[in-house]
Subunit: 375 residues, 2 copies
């Protein structure tokens, strides 16, 4: 088999613009241990947006291509333009994860068994008609799984699993999650409900309380309410949660959670000395929805920690065997616990529409786009 394939790329051009376009490149031939995946579905995750938009100001985006060769350009603020960074003027492929059908295989046994299977892959360059992969990097789905069902097999499922696994490994028994109405947040509630782990969900808006309650979440606190601090302490006392994953990052929220955890520990009867209780309270920041500085009042004793957390680094830390177990759990439960819903399906070309960009660029709760590269 030979020929060409279409692939979405983002190019930072030295004149100070960012260009999104569709490149036509050679379709590769698998080596012995490789397979060629016909990509059928790939989601736009919040974590994809950084690579798509780069440092550009997307409010300046305008369509400049032709119907046959659509293009979008946007201006990069001069102070954010790298002088001569590696990568300037080089088209970068996009798309962290996706799924498809194995259409061509190498000569190794591992590659051959994948022929015709639905597989998911995380590794970049998934916004394309085809993607080459090592056989052992593919996550094989159970028979009867459509690629669209398997498109989001890594980022959200492994993040949710990684949070629960971190909780167990670090000796906590319940979790706090912020920005909890997100796709990830809903998935985390399903997972924890299965595993008998309590989750304290923190959301901003009243309608997100209703959304999470409707899927069975038991503890939901709205940070916009006057009684937020008291309600959070109450939920923390009921669950004994001493670990939080915070997607917002900036502002007072991480510190508010630590303070509420300490108050809950004291109300639960823990000994409290001049340095607070000895119960370790931890917040991991895994996103940066609020880009302002993190502000810690330190009014919760000395047994606390705040730090960054990234799912891929966590998988490296626990080692390949433990990570593979988590991946296999995702495949086994891809239609239930780890099912994703999308608000819209679009083609590769549709990504280059300024109106689409404005919509998926908002990272709004409930908005998630699925790219269908074959359409």
């Amino acid at each position: 088999m030979s020929g060409t394939m279409r692939q979405l790329v983002s190019t930072l051009i030295s004149d100070g613009t960012l260009e999104l376009s569709i490149a036509t490149v050679d379709k590769p031939e698998p080596a012995d241990d490789e397979v060629l995946i016909r990509v059928e579905a790939a989601p736009i995750n919040p974590s994809d947006l950084g690579a798509i938009f780069g440092p550009a100001d997307m409010s300046t985006a305008e369509a400049v291509g032709t119907p046959d060769d659509p293009k979008v350009v946007a201006q990069v603020p001069p102070d954010l333009m790298p002088a001569s960074a590696p990568g300037v003027n080089s088209p970068r492929p996009l798309g962290i994860e996706g799924a498809g059908i194995v259409e061509q295989v190498g000569t190794s046994a591992a590659a051959k068994t994948l022929f015709g299977k639905t597989v998911a892959l995380m590794g970049g360059a998934m916004y394309a008609e085809y993607r080459m992969a090592k056989a052992d990097q593919c996550l094989v789905m159970p028979d009867g799984t459509a690629p669209a069902e398997a498109a989001s097999s890594f980022v959200n499922p492994l993040t949710a699993l990684g949070m629960v696994e971190t909780m167990r490994r670090e000796g906590h028994t319940a979790l706090v999650h912020t920005a909890a109405a997100s796709n990830l947040g809903q998935m985390l509630n399903k997972l924890c409900s299965n595993e008998g782990v309590d989750v304290v969900n923190i959301v901003r808006r009243r309608e997100h309380v209703d959304l999470l309650s409707s899927i069975g979440a038991r503890y939901v606190c709205a940070s916009s309410r006057d009684a937020f601090a008291e309600e959070l302490v109450e939920a923390l006392r009921a669950t004994n949660a001493t670990l939080a994953f915070d997607a917002t990052g900036g502002g007072n929220l991480a510190g508010q959670i630590l303070a509420a955890m300490e108050t809950a520990q004291i109300q639960s009867g823990r000994d409290v000395g001049p340095y607070g209780t000895t119960t370790h309270k931890q917040v991991y920041i895994y996103g940066g929805l609020d880009r302002s500085p993190t502000r810690l009042e330190r009014n919760y004793g000395m047994a606390w920690g705040v730090g960054g957390w990234l799912m891929p680094w966590f998988l490296v830390k626990i080692g390949p065997e433990a990570a593979q177990k988590l991946r296999e759990k995702v495949a086994a439960e891809i239609k239930t616990t780890f099912a994703s819903a999308y608000s819209k399906e679009i083609s590769l070309g549709d990504v280059l529409d300024p109106d689409s960009i404005a919509a998926f660029g908002k990272k709004a709760t409930g908005e998630k786009y699925l790219i269908r590269p074959q359409k």
Copy 2:
């Protein structure tokens, strides 16, 4: 043996004052596994001041007793006065650590071997003529050690050792220390020099650079200098330090250190992706000289952590055997690595002098008081 003994106490009185006074109490009789220590020397550590002063505003301190029964009272700001907390109106003994001679012993073999020895003890109530202790809690000093030499055997030595031990256990190879001209900071430099561990010392004032350089510190950065950020990066690159112990706590310093560590890692050639380098950078806050909130800009990728650190909790975490090894190292090197210097020696009664209180309450670098309860 029987009789009475004098003991310094701090009493929070329900009328809204704090009273410091000398209580006369019964001298206790040792049980089988106990020994009675005649306390000869006990330091005033910064960590003692919280217990001595409580919530009182010490600028209002005034002497109100008689020469035979000296007393100091100070006003507690009404909003800091606990309504009916346990401990109100009860005299609290003071003094975290100290040393003395074992004057009377119980019947157990462990107790008997201590008779006449110089021992150090951490456990409170050391600002007193006598202190009862379990035999196995006493740290026995080498023959020929005077109690004054052994008075500071725990707080500073075990904190310095705990920092180095934390560094090793968490996979770092060099240290950053703030407020580094302190007694503790000087001791840490001596210890690390012996152990071949690099320390990056951060101080505020120019004269503290000279002080540390004069005792052989190789890396000293003054945060008051315009070129502080660059000089810190340079020292971090030279040492590859990725762990800091911060005594200040508030403000931007913890974040500045993390940012400088990340810059040093990048300059040293580490791979840097969209989430920064994968090198974990850690700041432990072990004091609160700056009571303002900690402000983290998070401009150093995702491989970072900030948290509280307390020496006694660290000793619990590593377990009794490992902790005992550290204590024995202190005893063996009490006249060299872990020697302390004092700016003034005072009696129990001298502590109740408002001028003394103003002096040792300042926590000034180089000022450290030693209480001599027998004088």
